[in-house]
Symmetry: C2
Subunit: 124 residues, 2 copies
DNA sequence: GTGCTTGCAAAGATTTTGCACGGCC
DNA sequence: GGCCGTGCAAAATCTTTGCAAGCAC
């Protein structure tokens, strides 16, 4: 169960660690293929999942497709309904903090995700 | 382009309009099939989309699968990471209101969705 | 050597679509 | 009758998985 340090994992991590564009698995695959032409898409998926399990990536599901976001810190996302681009957002009221359920509900909230939808600057 | 009132659309709407369990297209299909054994899954999808476009339903994408929620009013959802169930949520601080981006960003926010993740009562 | 990882391809799961027929207006 | 909606099945998307071979430790 220990995670081995393979060249594939390393190359994939290099490809996404500073990435701000919220790439999909396929986009990461295309990018990584330039360094490792024989890598397979399945391997990309498996390693992205590993990185996510490690807490190094966040998986955003937008419109039925996974996007991978290096986990710098929790932040909301803005999704343009016209072009589909995903933007990182900083809210004014900076910490509208973690929403909390009444304790008596018995639900345990471990994380949350706020998504804003609308039209981005370029599309308006 | 006008929406015709077909029996299929009606039956589908009847099946979801009071529904609080956030069913998937497939679950709605199974339900509707009891009244209309020959209805097709494609028709269910097409009509659910029509209802969503009409503003009668909200489509929640959870874990790569669409769930359909009659749109009573905007509310956050709690998704149990253990059993996958989706719950409607009312926050304490009732209106943590619509988050707003700084106006100068040029982004237009038309809607937003807050999702909480964790473990529900039955799964803990 | 042991057992996690990989590449490849096939299978899965969900949703969309083409087409000819049928039914609403 | 015109046209949108339907049923059916095939296609499309995106993701996961089985398996034998390979590599990390």
């Amino acid at each position: 169960m220990s995670t081995r340090r393979t060249r594939q994992l390393e190359v994939i991590w290099e490809a996404v660690k500073g990435e701000m564009s919220h790439p999909t698995a396929d986009q990461i695959y295309e990018r990584v293929r330039k360094d490792m032409p024989h890598i397979s898409l399945g391997t990309v998926y498996r390693n992205l999942q590993k990185l996510a399990a490690d807490g190094k990536l966040q998986i955003l599901t937008i419109d039925r497709t996974q996007h991978f976001d290096p986990l710098l810190e929790k932040h909301p996302h803005f999704i343009c309904e016209s072009c589909g681009k995903v933007y990182d957002v900083t809210l004014d009221r900076s910490d509208e903090a973690a929403p909390v359920l009444s304790p008596e509900t018995g639900f345990t909230v471990t994380s949350h995700q706020l998504s804003l939808y609308g039209t981005c600057e370029m599309c308006s």
